[in-house]
């Protein structure tokens, strides 16, 4: 058995008073980080110069980091970190002359630096891949089990974020919290497995701050009326959306995938079965043989996505599928906004109710 399996059972501090936190200067913190990366791969927000959406803009993106100073603490990433535990493309099986073998992966323990919304998004991934239908997805499980979460604080609400409205602004599901301060770092350790890396530093009370109010607070309707399906509000999206699927690929809670068999060239004996991210906004998501299709209008695809995020998923699991990270708004080339859409739905629901009274 690899280290991954042995390390699985970590104790989360029950008695919080025991470990309040510590402060380290930059050198000591980097020293601790050096020891951590001997054991873990670390994935965190990183600045990639000149790769931003507009000219002369940088892209903030999840990537491997080698030093604490590489980590961007104060900016939101364009894409989420989901590819760490749900790769864009992943081999499921290798076929060789009629024999089938599960694809092997390198099981390296990985730390991901995440904000509260993205940590809550992992809970949604766990729900889909480990609970839905009572089936556990082994490919997801083995990657997920080697992930440790480090919390990043939000200095302020970012544009288009609405985590407080979605109730995903807080979390205590993390191993370590790190805040960058003027002359060093403030650290809080929730997971005993990480104690050994932080032998130095001054004891201090360290509590993460969470966003309490969104810039634009939203109300999420409890339920919707079927008439919403035929409402004119969806027509605008049919006109605007270009079905690029970016809103799905950037979303930390979109879990859909498709499956494809690939023949390895020059060798008809060998093939692989891949799974690949797929997008409900893109053509052919629902296509049946014989060209029968559903949701041909892009407005219907938008309705399908948005209602899943804020109504349908909750019916089964009791919490929403959207964590209000605002990424889909940021990435959409057509300036289609999730928050605006939710607002419209809510207004329609209120108008409906008043009409009925």
């Amino acid at each position: 058995m690899t280290k991954v399996h042995k390390l699985r059972e970590c104790k989360i501090y029950k008695d919080r008073a025991k470990m309040e936190g510590l402060k380290l200067n930059c050198d000591k913190a980097e020293g601790a980080f050096d020891r951590i990366i001997e054991d873990y791969k670390v994935v965190a927000p990183k600045r990639i110069a000149g790769k931003g959406r507009f000219s002369d803009m940088d892209l903030v993106s999840y990537d491997m980091v080698e030093s604490l100073s590489d980590i961007v603490f104060n900016d939101r990433t364009y894409f989420s970190a989901k590819s760490v535990f749900f790769p864009i493309r992943e081999t499921m099986f290798n076929y060789d002359k009629g024999c089938v073998e599960d694809a092997r992966i390198e099981e390296k323990l990985t730390i991901i630096f995440l904000r509260a919304c993205d940590i809550n998004a992992i809970n949604i991934f766990d729900t889909m891949f480990l609970k839905n239908g009572g089936y556990q997805d082994c490919y997801y499980k083995r990657r997920r089990e080697s992930v440790k979460i480090f919390l990043l604080e939000c200095p302020r609400p970012f544009a288009d974020c609405f985590c407080a409205s979605m109730g995903t602004n807080k979390t205590d599901n993390y191993s370590v919290f790190i805040r960058k301060e003027e002359n060093g770092y403030a650290i809080r350790i929730n997971d005993e497995a990480f104690m050994k890396y932080f032998s130095e530093g001054a004891k201090a009370k360290v509590e993460p701050h969470f966003i309490e109010d969104d810039l634009g607070a939203l109300n999420i309707p409890d339920s919707i009326d079927c008439s919403l399906f035929r409402n004119k509000m969806w027509e605008e999206y049919s006109q605007r959306c270009i079905a690029c699927g970016r809103c799905n690929t950037s979303c930390p809670t979109c879990t859909c995938f498709t499956v494809q068999d690939i023949t390895i060239e020059d060798n008809m004996q060998k093939s692989e079965r891949w799974r690949i991210w797929s997008s409900c906004q893109v053509k052919n998501f629902s296509l049946l043989a014989g060209d029968h299709d559903f949701r041909i209008l892009k407005g219907d695809r938008m309705r399908y996505k948005v209602l899943h995020k804020i109504i349908d998923f909750r019916k089964t699991f009791g919490f929403n599928m959207c964590v209000g990270c605002g990424r889909c708004d940021q990435v959409c080339p057509e300036y289609i906004g999730m928050a605006k859409c939710i607002k419209k739905i809510n207004e329609i629901c209120i108008a409906d109710r008043e009409e009925k009274l």
Binding site: M128, G133, F257, V259, Q260, R273, C280, R295
Partner: protein
């Protein structure tokens, strides 16, 4: 090996029946204890994996009936007796057999849809546990050339009331003794339809819409109608997301839905 929900078992093809140019049944050396209405995931390396209804059970084998329409199904049609494919399942909810016990049951199927209801028919006719007091089968095909399960249809005709219709007999040389026209037009020829008649309906979406309307017109209560859904599927186990409609997954909560629920499932 991991406990892999996507891993099928290699099973041998024991027999192949050619119904038409487009449709074949495969008997597979698989011991699967499924219920009528459930499906399996059939997998062929180099091609992919698809959901197929179980069209027959025996204690030592199962039968599937496949229409050749695309990548995986055409590869399946190249296989011979003795070749192997991979299979996992059974999946999904079955027809509610206990609801049909002692009742008038009408089964309506269009084309390949007959494969999905065949185990239900066999169960009602040959099994003693669940016995409808009266059983009608109404099945429609494009033309006499498109008939499936001719031998079984003869057998069922001896045991229950069966109406076989075809949309057209154009271009046929042999005489056709069954009905001619759309299935929906034959609903009124089924004797004894009433509010309490239980109806199982499997076929293309348009046929389902039309027949439900006709049934309701004949006073059948909506909660007595069950249909089987077909949606794009990539996993069969509630993970890939493709088959979802609202809060339901066709692979988990379906493919069989009561019409009252089916009505609220807007894609």
């Amino acid at each position: 090996m991991m406990n892999n929900i996507y891993a099928g078992k290699a099973v041998k093809i024991l027999g192949i029946t050619k119904h038409t140019n487009m449709e074949r049944s495969f008997t597979l050396d698989a011991h699967i204890h499924g219920m009528p209405g459930q499906f399996v995931m059939v997998s062929l390396s180099h091609a992919g994996e698809i959901p197929i209804s179980i069209s027959g059970f025996s204690s030592t084998s199962i039968e599937i009936t496949v229409r050749n329409v695309g990548k995986v199904t055409s590869k399946l049609f190249q296989l011979k007796v003795g070749d192997k494919l991979h299979l996992r399942g059974p999946y999904g909810e079955s027809f509610p057999l206990e609801a049909f016990d002692g009742q008038h049951l009408l089964i309506i199927a269009g084309g390949t849809g007959l494969a999905a209801v065949k185990p239900l028919l066999e169960c009602c006719l040959d099994d003693d546990e669940y016995k409808p007091k009266k059983l009608n089968l109404l099945v429609g095909f494009k033309s006499p050339k498109h008939l499936l399960f001719k031998k079984e249809l003869d057998h069922w005709q001896k045991k229950g009331e069966v109406i076989v219709t075809v949309d057209t007999t154009e271009g046929e040389t042999e005489a056709w003794a069954g009905g001619i026209g759309f299935v929906v037009d034959f609903v009124k020829h089924v004797g004894g339809i009433g509010p309490e008649t239980k109806v199982v309906l499997v076929g293309p979406p348009l046929m389902i819409t039309n027949i439900v309307r006709e049934l309701v017109h004949n006073n059948v209560r909506e909660e007595n109608i069950w249909t089987s859904f077909e949606r794009h599927m990539k996993c069969g186990v509630g993970k890939c997301g493709h088959c979802r409609i609202r809060d339901k997954y066709v692979c988990l909560d379906g493919p069989v839905f009561n019409h009252v629920e089916a009505k609220s499932l807007i894609d």
